[in-house]
């Protein structure tokens, strides 16, 4: 796996030019290379003023939900409870995502910059970085190279799908167990130990580290008005080699596939956003956090999984639903029992058994499972499965009649 970024020259004070931003300090960048590429953090943007700059920048969360970054921070900053907490979330339980680990390996200092800048903006007194152990190692090394990040505590994440869900993250920090928790209040009001808490994905933090230096106008020189900046995409599936690409916002999906050396014409579909994402055509739409449906696909957690024409999309979906059912934390009944029931029904559909009533049963189980849990694991699973029924409608028709015109299985 290689990153697409090319090491840029020394910083001009106006930020990296083009779309190669997050890896501009080069491979496995130490503090020296990091400062050479980006320069120091700008002091005038390291306090509460940063939140206004982030609002102008239009940066959205890169962990999946694409929520406006400034809004989460403004909520924490305006809390009347003192002693806010900021958590960098690098738990990458999504099997199709590897961009967060790539970022922590090559640009740990940029992530730490963003963590420090965000903490300064919301006046946080506790800072955490949470990731699977492979991602923590480079951060541990980075912390020995600088003196301004002594407060940052590293917390290991287990390798489970739900470990990165915000309430599971705080649960892991507090108790060591990374399962979601029932919430009736927002984390920005009552998070870790009752403190106002901000949880940002590590790539989001890296962008904050750049906006704190070069400003909102620079950030917007990549991407479009409705989806500014760049984002990392983990591309996998029927591509010559799985890869992480930094792409501009609002990029045509076929451009991303071609940049990964894949020919969109050989693909029948992409799963965009991750296992909680949606199935879509391999060309004709743009990857954008905002924009009309059908013309835009949500990048979610920055995942693009390519499905070759030889593979059956329903079999691939059944595999994903089975995996997600296995990843239930088994705390909430509708998820614990509903997802396995949904997976069984999908196995029947993929195998061409079940008959015409199966479709109604799939929809019934979806309604019974979505929205009834402490986290959005069941909702995301049902949404992804529903997008498969819609996108592979012709295959569904064949399968309900007992046939399939493709080989089975997942690339």
């Amino acid at each position: 796996m290689k990153t697409s970024a090319v090491a840029a020259g020394p910083a001009t004070g106006s930020g990296p030019v083009g779309n190669d931003r997050l890896f501009a300090a080069g491979e496995y960048a130490g503090y020296h290379n990091h400062l050479d590429a980006y320069g120091p953090l700008a002091a005038h943007l390291s306090g509460p003023g940063l939140i206004g700059e982030l609002e102008v920048s239009g940066l959205t969360g890169r962990g999946g939900a694409a929520f406006p970054v400034w809004q989460k921070m403004a909520a924490v900053a305006s809390s009347r409870t003192a002693g806010a907490v900021v958590v960098g979330n690098g738990a990458e339980g999504e099997p199709l995502s590897f961009k967060d680990n790539m970022l922590l390996q090559h640009a740990p200092h940029l992530v730490l910059d963003g963590l420090l800048a965000a903490a300064g903006a919301v006046r946080a007194s506790r800072l955490y970085l949470y990731s699977q152990e492979p991602g923590l190692a480079p951060v541990r090394r980075a912390l020995t190279e600088r003196t301004d990040a002594g407060k940052v505590r590293l917390v290991p994440a287990p390798d489970t799908f739900v470990a990165g869900e915000a309430s599971a993250v705080l649960n892991a920090i507090r108790t060591g167990t990374a399962v979601p928790v029932d919430r009736t209040q927002r984390l920005s009001e009552t998070g870790l130990h009752g403190r106002p808490t901000l949880v940002h994905n590590v790539e989001t933090l890296a962008h904050i580290g750049l906006i704190a230096r070069f400003g909102a106008a620079w950030f917007r020189t990549a991407g479009t008005a409705r989806d500014p900046g760049t984002r990392l995409i983990s591309v996998s599936g029927d591509v010559p080699a799985a890869t992480v690409l930094e792409v501009p916002g609002d990029v045509p999906v076929e451009n991303v596939l071609r940049a990964a050396q894949a020919d969109p014409d050989t693909l029948s579909a992409v799963l965009a956003g991750g296992y909680h994402g949606q199935w879509a055509a391999p060309s004709g739409a743009r990857l954008s956090a905002a924009g009309p449906e059908r013309q835009t696909i949500r990048p979610g957690a920055g995942v693009l999984f390519a499905l070759g024409r030889q593979h059956c999309g329903l079999a691939a979906t059944a595999d994903v639903v089975n995996y997600l059912a296995s990843q239930s934390a088994r705390q909430c009944g509708p998820c614990r029992f509903g997802l396995p029931a949904l997976a069984d029904a999908w196995d029947q559909l993929a195998a061409g058994h079940g008959g015409p009533r199966l479709l109604r049963e799939l929809q019934r189980l979806g309604l019974l499972t979505a929205g009834r849990g402490a986290c959005h694991h069941p909702d995301g699973t049902v949404r992804m499965a529903a997008s498969a029924l819609e996108f592979f409608a012709e295959d569904v028709r064949l399968h309900l009649a007992g046939g399939c015109n493709r080989q089975e299985g997942t690339p």
Binding site: D182, G333, C335, F337, A341, G371, A374
Partner: protein, 77 residues
């Protein structure tokens, strides 16, 4: 709209079914015995809106739930 809702903590609920007996017009049981909002159009299936008349029965359900999985919460929409 303001008012109160019956919040279901799914991490605690194990489908004993007492709430569905006390609030039959609000909650039915799903395939596995867990409480299911009787109104299928409800978006937020974890916070079931309560009418003023539901108050006493909902409070009783919350107090009697053997798993302490129910709470009356103020809606913030």
């Amino acid at each position: 709209m303001n008012g109160s809702s019956l919040h279901i903590d799914w991490t605690r609920c194990d489908g004993r079914g007492l709430c569905t007996e006390l609030l039959p017009h609000l909650l039915v049981r799903d395939d596995w015995g867990y409480p299911l909002a009787a109104d299928p159009s409800l978006e937020d299936k974890s916070n079931v809106p309560l009418a003023p008349d539901d108050g006493p029965a909902a409070a009783e359900a919350a107090a009697l739930c053997p798993r302490l999985a129910l709470a009356i919460v103020q809606r913030r929409d």
